[in-house]
């Protein structure tokens, strides 16, 4: 594959899900590029610094949110002249997102006072009061029919289910949580997982019509759930908690079927441990010409790295968290199922350099990838079981059941990959650094 490099960019970019277009913004300009050629297709100018952009579901519109000003601007791809501006005024703007039908924009005002639903086709406005100020307060079903919204009134949590087509309130029920931390729909759209604050380990499962199906609580008093992930077939719900364990619930009985531990030492010989190993190429000072060309300079100091299979038992690098701080860096911070439902990738924040890949069919640990630096982000390829990992250095790492490889991003200067984003067809991915991004094409 051939990575390509690009010009300075800022903040965010989004990959268009259907069409091969990338949108990226620089300060107040929105640039739309073609994915394959990275040619600029469109250029829009917004009123203020753009904080957030999002494509609509049909890839025809992009919304650009400017939180400082409380304005959301929507641009059309087909009709560059078309414009739309939504002003929240003094209410302020904290978050903005599209509705699944691509015609409504949900704005969350400041202090989570309300959610304003702006309709682009009817120019009507709806208000939803008392939204919950949590990270995953809004959840749309995969098919985009229903929206679940977490609310909080009188110190009690509620969930409201809306029909996205006409924003009718379908169900409104309270949850038995202390302080709802997040909600997430199952991919089949029938079950809603609601989990409580990290002070209490509790996850509730509600069916579409608002009935409580089951609750699950692994233990008391210790810090609880940190992250959850549904398997693509909705068969499993993986719950990562602060006690460094992942618990898998099955969808038939909603009982725990297994627990995955993340110990520091791996002793089982059946587990493959890939360890990233660095190789410094020797620099021959004599043959250096002064001043060295840019390319040469970068290649000189480029550190090669490759994966080595370490012999079991392997002891991983463990980071002891600061005990008296809130939100300690322990526990399972990231969970992701592979799209074919075969693998589960987890990251234990205690051992930030390692990624654990579990075989879902056998419910056993399959592979452990040990990196040199702390893993920043990983994401599965949407089409096949391929995992892309970035650790904040100028390399991107790919793992698949066939093997794993570390790829250097050929860039001038320092390109620290902080995040990445797969294209929806799995052919390419965008690598983001602090203010740059580049495309990586895979063959």
């Amino acid at each position: 594959f051939s990575p390509s490099f690009s010009i300075d960019h800022m903040a965010c970019k989004r990959t268009n899900p259907k069409v091969y277009i990338i949108a990226s913004c620089v300060q107040y300009r929105l640039i739309v590029r073609d994915v394959n050629s990275l040619q600029i297709l469109q250029l829009y100018t917004c009123l203020d610094q753009i904080q957030y952009i999002e494509w609509s579901s049909d890839s025809l519109f992009i919304l650009c949110a400017m939180y400082k000003r409380g304005i959301v601007q929507v641009w059309s791809l087909e009709q560059p002249d078309w414009h739309c501006k939504i002003d929240e005024g003094s209410a302020g703007l904290v978050a903005s997102c599209w509705s699944p039908d691509g015609r409504h924009i949900l704005n969350t005002t400041e202090f989570h006072l309300r959610i304003t639903v702006w309709s682009l086709c009817t120019k009507s406005v709806s208000y939803i009061k008392y939204p919950k100020a949590c990270q995953h307060g809004i959840a749309f079903t995969k098919d985009g029919r229903y929206m679940a919204l977490a609310e909080r009134r009188d110190c009690k949590d509620f969930i409201s289910l809306f029909v996205c087509s006409d924003w009718q309130l379908l169900r409104h029920f309270d949850t038995e949580t202390q302080d709802l931390a997040g909600i997430e729909w199952a991919p089949n759209g029938c079950v809603l997982a609601v989990w409580d604050t990290c002070l209490e380990y509790k996850i509730l499962l509600y069916s579409l019509d608002g009935r409580l199906l089951s609750t699950y609580s692994a233990y008391e008093w210790s810090l609880g759930i940190k992250s959850i992930a549904w398997s693509p077939s909705s068969q499993f719900l993986a719950i990562g908690s602060y006690d460094e364990k992942v618990r898998i619930l099955n969808h038939v009985t909603w009982k725990k079927i297994t627990e995955f531990e993340h110990p520091v030492t791996i002793a089982n010989p059946k587990i493959i441990v890939y360890k990233e190993v660095e190789k410094c190429p020797r620099v021959e000072t004599e043959s250096l010409a002064l001043p060295p060309a840019k390319a040469q300079a970068s290649s000189l100091f480029r550190i090669q790295s490759k994966y080595d299979i370490s012999q079991v038992p392997v002891s991983l690098q463990c980071v002891k968290p600061v005990a008296d701080r809130a939100n300690p860096r322990i526990g399972i911070g990231m969970l992701a199922f592979s799209p074919d439902n075969c693998f589960l990738a987890t990251k234990n924040d205690n051992i930030p350099n390692a990624i654990w890949i579990w075989d879902v069919q056998k419910l056993k640990l399959f592979v452990v990838l040990e990196q040199l630096y702390a893993v920043q982000f990983f994401q599965w390829d949407p089409c096949q079981p391929r995992l892309a990992i970035c650790t904040g250095n100028s390399k991107v790492y790919l793992w698949s059941p066939a093997g794993c490889v570390s790829v250097q991003v050929p860039m001038e200067g320092d390109f620290q990959v902080l995040s990445l984003c797969w294209h929806s067809n799995g052919d390419s991915m965008a690598l983001l650094s602090k203010d740059h991004f580049c495309m990586c094409y895979l063959e």
Binding site: S57, D58, F61, S76, D81, W82, H83, C84, K85, I86, D87, E88, G89, S90, A91, D101, G102, R103, T109, F111, H112, L113, R114, W118, S119, L120, C121, T122, K123, V125, K129, R145, Y146, R152, R153, D154, C155, L161, V163, S165, D166, Q168, L170, Q178, D179, N188, G189, C190, V191, L199, S207, L208, D209, W221, H251, V252
Partner: protein
């Protein structure tokens, strides 16, 4: 000394009497005084043996002493000192005998005394030994008592420690409980505080919201160039009750769809599992023994009817499964049947295990030691055999090597020559045999030929004779045909050989009808002769030499016919 003697002497007779009493219980002599005296008397005697030698008998009281001694000795069973005939004369022989006897007695007594003393010493030493043992045992007892006391002390200490540890554990547990309670109480406190703060926050939010709403500035607006169509191209619908109902419906449809999907998957799984269970059941049934009549095992007796039940169940279940029912009863039946089968199989396996173990244990228990010995013997034998076999193999290998490896040409040639010689010798022997046999055969052939020649000669001679005789007969017949008796008598003379008899018979038969013509008679005779020749030829040995002689000329006709 004199006093002693005077005391003793008068007492003696009475003492002897008393001793007589003592020894023989016939006479009774009640004299207690004498007894007392008697009791006193032996002591001085024993105390001063040397003095008593001279003190007992002096020149004066010889007779008394002798008589006393006699009495004593007789009472003791010794023969009398006096001679038989005369009471006054002392029998020296008897005296000597008595003395000898007394000496012997004395020696015996000394010996016994020694023995007694030795025994006494032994007993004394035993006593000492026992006392020592006793002392030691007492010490040991003391020591063990002390040990016991020490151990008890330790035990007590350990128990104390144990109790302390238990106590500590309890304390720790209590602490943990307390801490948990503290956490719980703090959590509730925090929750309460949080709620309070949240309420305040909500109030502020409300206030703010009101302010924001009240402001109603133009800014809260949406500026759209033009409306954009909906995604699906339809117009927006009003929110009415119908739409609400429709939404509900849709929602339930989605839910139901999900559940149906789930249920389908579960049904498939169930069906597969049922199939697997059925298969397992069938296999288990086949594994178990079909029919057993062991009176010991009740379980097996019970399996027969159970098996039949199982089969019935199986039939039923098969039928039902074909319809793919999943009702409770079917499920229960299946699980129960599987459980029963499994139990039976387990029992069977356990029984087999027991049998095997029993067999093992029996074999071991019956001939425990012997079997081991047998084993050892057998192993030794086998080892010996193995060694022997190995040795044999080695020797054979060596021989083979010797045979196979041609070290030198000479030797090989020699060897070959050796083989050739051997063969040649063998062949020669065989040739000899053959030659001998050949000789034998030739001899026999010669003998046979000679015999044949002889036979031929004899035949010739016989034929000549016969021919001559026939001639005579013929002549005689033609001349004296009347004298058939002669013929008969002639025939009677030469009637031993068969052809003659036959000839005669022919003649006798043919004679009567053919009497008239001689020529035809001759012809008939010739014919008969021919017949006879034929017969004779047939009766004799086949190997005929062709040495025909002259005398058979007149039978030239016959010969070629006959031969």
């Amino acid at each position: 000394m004199g006093d002693w003697t005077t005391v003793t002497v008068p007492a003696l007779p009475s003492a002897s009497k008393n001793t007589l009493l003592n020894t023989s219980e016939k006479k009774m002599c009640p004299s207690s005084l004498n007894m007392q005296q008697v009791q006193h008397s032996p002591l001085p005697l024993s105390k001063s043996p040397h003095s008593s030698f001279s003190a007992f008998c002096t020149d004066e009281n010889v007779e008394q002493c002798v008589s006393y001694l006699n009495r004593e000795l007789t009472t003791l069973g010794f023969p009398s000192l006096y001679s038989e005939c005369n009471d006054r004369e002392l029998n020296v022989v008897s005296i000597i005998n008595c003395m000898n006897e007394l000496l012997i007695l004395q020696r015996k007594n000394l010996r016994t005394q020694e023995e007694v003393e030795i025994q006494h010493l032994k007993l004394g030493s035993d006593m000492d030994h026992l006392q020592n043992c006793y002392a030691k045992v007492k010490e040991q007892l003391e020591a063990s008592r002390r040990e016991i006391v020490g151990l008890q002390e330790r035990d007590r200490q350990q128990q104390c420690k144990n109790r302390n540890l238990h106590q500590l554990l309890k304390n720790e547990k209590d602490e943990v409980q307390k801490l948990q309670n503290i956490i719980a109480s703090r959590a509730t406190q925090y929750n309460h505080d949080m709620k309070r703060k949240e309420r305040e926050y909500n109030k502020l939010k409300e206030r703010l919201h009101q302010l924001v709403m009240n402001k109603k500035d133009k800014k809260i607006a949406m500026d759209v160039l033009n409306y954009i169509g909906r995604v699906d191209g339809k117009r927006g619908a009003w929110r009415t009750g119908k739409t609400e109902a429709r939404n509900e419906e849709d929602m339930y449809k989605v839910l139901l769809g999900g559940y149906e999907h789930c249920q389908k998957q579960l049904l498939m799984e169930n069906a597969e599992l049922k199939k697997v269970l059925q298969q397992m059941k069938k296999e288990m049934i086949s594994l178990l023994p079909p029919k057993k009549q062991k009176p010991k095992e009740r379980a097996e007796d019970g399996t027969e009817p159970v098996l039949s039940d199982m089969e019935e169940d199986a039939v039923e279940l098969n039928k039902e499964n074909m319809w793919e029912l999943s009702c409770e009863t079917v499920r229960e039946q299946l699980t129960n049947s599987i459980r029963k089968q499994w139990r039976m199989l387990k029992n069977h396996v356990e029984k087999l295990d027991n049998q095997v173990s029993r067999a093992h244990s029996e074999a071991l228990n019956d001939n425990d030691v012997i079997s081991r010995e047998d084993h050892e013997l057998e192993t030794e034998k086998l080892e010996l055999e193995i060694q022997q076999c190995r040795e044999m193999i080695k020797t054979q290998q060596q021989l083979l090597q010797q045979l196979m490896s041609p070290c030198d040409d000479d030797t090989s040639v020699l060897l070959q020559d050796c083989y050739l010689l051997e063969e040649r010798e063998r062949l020669q022997e065989e040739w000899k045999l053959f030659r001998e046999q050949k000789k034998n055969f030739e001899r026999e052939r010669r003998s046979f030929t000679e015999a044949a020649i002889r036979l031929g000669l004899e035949r010739k001679a016989f034929e000549e004779d016969r021919g001559a005789w026939l001639k005579q007969q013929f002549l005689s017949i033609t001349y004296d045909h009347k004298n058939s008796e002669h013929v008969k008598s002639q025939s009677a003379f030469s009637g031993s050989s068969e052809p003659d008899n036959q000839l005669i018979n022919f003649r006798s038969r043919h004679k009567k009808p053919h009497f008239l013509s001689s020529v035809p008679m001759a012809e008939e005779l010739c014919q008969t002769v021919q017949h006879i020749a034929h017969n004779s030829n047939s009766s004799t040995v086949l190997n005929k030499t062709t040495e025909d002689s002259k005398p058979k000329q007149w039978k030239g006709i016959n010969k070629p016919e006959a031969e």
